[in-house]
Symmetry: C2
DNA sequence: TCTATTTAGTTGCATTTGTGACGATCTTTT
DNA sequence: AAAAGATCGTCACAAATGCAACTAAATAGA
C-alpha cells in the first residue's frame, strides 16, 4: 500500500472535480434559466437570441462575422438569420463592393425586442451576482478571464 | 448627455461581459479539446464518454442514476449505454428486487479504456492548470463552486 | 384485491444540428 | 485576361437530440 488510500481503490477520475465537466454543467444550468425567459416571452431559440444580441451590440455584421464572434456554425447562423428575417427583426443589405456578403441589421422592431431582452439579461445577471456574492462573482469573472486568455490564442 | 457616454450609443448588452455567454463559450472551447482526444482515440461521443466516466467512478449504477448525476436526458443515456454495450465495455444486470431497473457495470475492457481515458483527462487538466497559472486556476475553481452552490439548490 | 398512479428504460417521430456540395462572387496566379 | 483557388451564404442529406407514447414492473389507494 502506498499511503493515501486504504482499502477501496480510488476512482481514477472524480467528475465533480474535473473542470470541463463542471464547466459544462454550470454553463448548461445557467444558460437554461435565461433561455427559458426568451423562449417563453418571444419563442426565440438560442442561436436566434445569440444572433440578435450580436447584431444589437455591433450594429451591422455579415453572417460570417456573427458566427466567428459567437462561435456558431455557418448554417446555424444562416438559419437564425432566416428566422429573424421572417419576424421582420432584421433586414439584409448586399455589400455593393463585395456582392457575396450581406450586411445584417436590426429593424426598429428587432431593436425594440433586443432592448427588452438586453434588459432582461442584465436583470438576470444582477440576480446571479447577488446570489454568488461579491467574492464568488469576482472569482468567477477572474477565472473566466484566465480561461479566455488560454483558449483564445491557445493551441 | 448624461456623462459616461459621448456620441455613440452604448450597446445595452456587451456579450463579452455577459456571464452565461462567456460560460458557454468557455465550456464549449475547453470541452471541445478534450472531446477530440477521446473521439480520435476511441470514436466516443460525449454522452458515451460521460457514461463511461460516471460508471468508472461509481462502479455500478442504473441508467437513471447516471442521467441524474451527469444531467443527461434519459434517452441520451439509453443510447450511450446501448453503444457501450455493443463495444462490450459494460454489461447489464437486472435488479432482482426491482426488475425494472438494471445495474450497469464496466467490463474489464471497459475498465481498461476508462483507466486510459481518465489518465488522459488528468493530463489535460494538468496542462490546463499550468496554463491558467496557480492564481487563475484557484479563481476558476472558486467561481465554479459558487455557481454550483447557486444552481444546485437552484431557484 | 383490483384499479390507478408512478417509475425504469426503450422506441418512433419530429426537430435541431452538422457535413459536404453547390452557385455566385472575389482574389491570386500565371 | 484566363485559370485556379478562396470565400460567402444556402441547401440536401445524414446524424444527433428531445418529446411523447409505450411496455413492463412496482407502489399506493379504494
Amino acid at each position: 500500500m502506498t499511503g493515501k488510500q486504504s482499502e477501496a481503490a480510488m476512482p481514477p477520475l472524480v467528475l465533480e472535480d474535473f473542470i470541463p465537466y463542471r464547466l459544462n454543467k454550470a454553463a448548461e444550468a445557467i444558460s437554461q434559466r435565461f433561455a427559458s425567459q426568451y423562449r417563453d416571452e418571444y419563442g426565440l431559440t438560442r442561436p436566434e437570441w445569440r444572433t440578435l444580441a450580436t447584431l444589437g451590440q455591433f450594429g451591422a455584421l455579415s453572417a460570417t462575422a456573427i458566427g466567428a464572434h459567437s462561435s456558431m456554425h455557418k448554417t446555424k447562423v444562416s438559419r437564425a438569420v432566416f428566422s429573424l428575417e421572417q419576424r421582420h427583426w432584421l433586414k439584409r443589405k448586399r455589400d455593393e463592393a463585395d456582392r457575396r456578403t450581406e450586411h445584417l441589421e436590426l429593424t426598429p422592431a428587432g431593436r425594440k425586442a433586443y432592448q427588452h431582452l438586453a434588459t432582461m439579461a442584465h436583470g438576470y445577471e444582477t440576480e446571479l451576482f447577488a446570489r454568488l456574492g461579491e467574492r464568488g462573482a469576482a472569482e468567477l469573472k477572474a477565472g473566466l478571464s484566465a480561461l479566455e486568455a488560454y483558449y483564445r490564442q491557445g493551441r
